[in-house]
């Protein structure tokens, strides 16, 4: 097994540690919420809630689970990259026998794979619940059949490209989020390491936040100039009609370029400036 795989494996194991428990809790929470919206519990008497009986119990459970899943996936999307920055700073991890650039790649890629894994883990119970609903609940079954009939599978290349393009865009945006979080962390810490040692701790912290704000502002400036002037002029010369379909390649290209630039910057920073921390955490 190569060093990269070893490290990736460790990252994956550590980052997915609590996933099963989260999903178990989510299932139970959805069940409890469904139960209380479906039944009235008063004086130790359980009565059917007559105001809210549009859907069967299991479809309702599925719905609540789905809503929770959406919230949790959004949370994981934001939380995992922020949490992953701690590994970039941790000496325990950085001692792995691998170059820092590859270390960073393993960290970021594992964050993405972990995110996809979480989505898959969310889909599995949803499918199971859907199956359950399909076999238990007649109205759900009917609705499902109606839904199937409503969808006309009409695959032309346009739709195909839009789907592919959108998926690519989603993945690129995901990495953009990861890279920008790392960049803010690396760049601000690298700058802080140049601040004279006699400046006291509180000022350093304020300075740290200030530097991050400056970096965000700077980045938006660069981005708007880059996309607004350079790339956009290129695209408009090609005379696309301005709609989602025609803008898609432009968006994918712009995102790929900004991702690549950020990745390059991050690898440079972690290779040359961003140290592992001496202290705890």
């Amino acid at each position: 097994m190569s060093e990269f795989n070893r490290l990736f494996n460790s990252f994956f194991k550590t980052k997915t540690k609590n996933f099963y428990i989260i999903i178990l809790f989510q299932l139970i929470a959805a069940l409890v919420i469904t139960f209380f919206s479906y039944f009235n519990v008063a004086n130790w008497q359980i009565t059917r809630n007559t105001e809210n009986n549009g859907a069967g119990f299991v479809p309702e459970w599925l719905l609540i689970f789905g809503i929770l899943a959406f919230l949790l996936i959004s949370f994981i999307l934001i939380y995992t990259p922020i949490h992953s920055e701690r590994y970039n700073r941790s000496q325990t991890w950085r001692l792995a026998a691998i170059s820092d650039g590859q270390f960073y790649l393993a960290n970021v890629l594992s964050t993405f794979v972990v995110f996809i894994y979480f989505i898959v883990l969310e889909i599995i119970p949803a499918i199971v619940l859907a199956f359950l609903a399909y076999f238990i609940d007649k109205p759900f079954q009917q609705g499902f059949h109606e839904l199937l009939q409503a969808i006309h599978p009409s695959f032309d290349t346009r739709v195909f490209f839009i789907v592919i393009g959108t998926i690519m865009l989603a993945i690129l945006s995901c990495f953009f989020l990861y890279f920008i979080i790392s960049f803010l962390n690396f760049a601000s810490q690298a700058i802080i390491d140049f601040v004279p040692a006699n400046v006291n701790g509180a000022i350093t912290k304020i300075l740290h936040i200030f530097i991050i704000c400056i970096l965000i502002w700077f980045f938006f400036e660069i981005n708007s100039i880059f996309i607004g002037n350079v790339l956009f002029s290129l695209i408009t010369k090609m005379d696309f009609r301005i709609d989602y379909y025609s803008e898609l390649p432009f968006a994918v290209l712009a995102n790929t370029i900004s991702d690549a630039i950020l990745l390059f910057l991050n690898i440079f920073l972690i290779n040359h400036f961003f140290e592992a921390s001496e202290q705890n955490k």
Partner: protein
């Protein structure tokens, strides 16, 4: 045989403060060497630079002939404070982590060392005393096969029994050709097992000498070390 460690013209600054200047250091294979100096003399920083976890230094650092950080990290084993783990982590899970992360980690050897140190695998990090934690760190560090072992202050704040155990484990598990660098600000307790002492003062290596050569001058290693810092006080 290549030297486990060769450092030339090392300079390291952080926060506009020089921590290491013009440092040269070469260690020969098969030695146990103490890196001595006051607290804050730069011992930990030096080890972090050798291990490639401290950045932005100038000069050349070679571990077993390798300059690239990835290769260096593959040829050395550095005592890590286990700061990357939550306090609730069990020893057995830390071992699993090491097993996945390091291809040179030898589980059988770790089990022997763990047994020798009397550490139970189901203990959690938060349940370990300072001495026990240090024993665990040493056991993990020696379970890897490396040319250079860097032990950063393994004896600070631990009791005499734990210290003896650790020293005995160093003698027992040291491979013939590997070199061990032990940092400490106090030498008495380990003097008998040392081949050499390296003294850091004024941000650089000011002396490197064999312990038996010191004793041949009818001086104890401790007196020798203290003489470097006393001179400063007199000045």
């Amino acid at each position: 045989m290549t030297n486990p460690l060769e450092i030339t013209d090392l300079v390291y600054k952080k926060n506009q403060k020089k921590i290491i200047t013009d440092l040269d250091l070469t260690l020969k294979p098969g030695k146990i060497v103490a890196l001595l100096g006051e607290n804050g003399a730069g011992k930990t920083t030096l080890m972090r630079i050798i291990s490639g976890v401290a950045k932005n230094y100038r000069g050349s650092v070679k571990v077993a002939g390798f300059t690239k950080e990835a290769d260096r990290k593959g040829h050395l084993s550095f005592t890590d404070g286990l700061t990357g783990f939550a306090n609730s982590t069990k020893i057995s899970n830390i071992v699993k982590f090491y097993q996945i992360l390091y291809q040179d980690f030898n589980l059988k050897q770790f089990e022997q060392l763990r047994d020798f140190m009397n550490l139970k695998p189901d203990l959690r990090l938060s349940e370990l005393s300072k001495g026990m934690k240090e024993k665990l760190v040493i056991a993990l560090t020696f379970s890897r096969r490396a040319d250079l072992y860097l032990l950063d202050e393994p004896f600070s704040g631990i009791d005499a029994m734990a210290r003896k155990k650790i020293i005995k484990s160093i003698i027992l598990w040291k491979q013939e050709k590997s070199t061990i660098l032990i940092s400490d600000h106090f030498v008495n307790e380990i003097a008998a097992v040392l081949d050499e002492v390296v003294i850091i003062k004024n941000k650089t290596v000011c002396m490197q000498k064999s312990t038996e050569a010191i004793r041949a001058d009818n001086q104890s290693v401790e007196e020798f070390y203290e003489s470097f810092y006393q001179r400063e006080e007199e000045e």
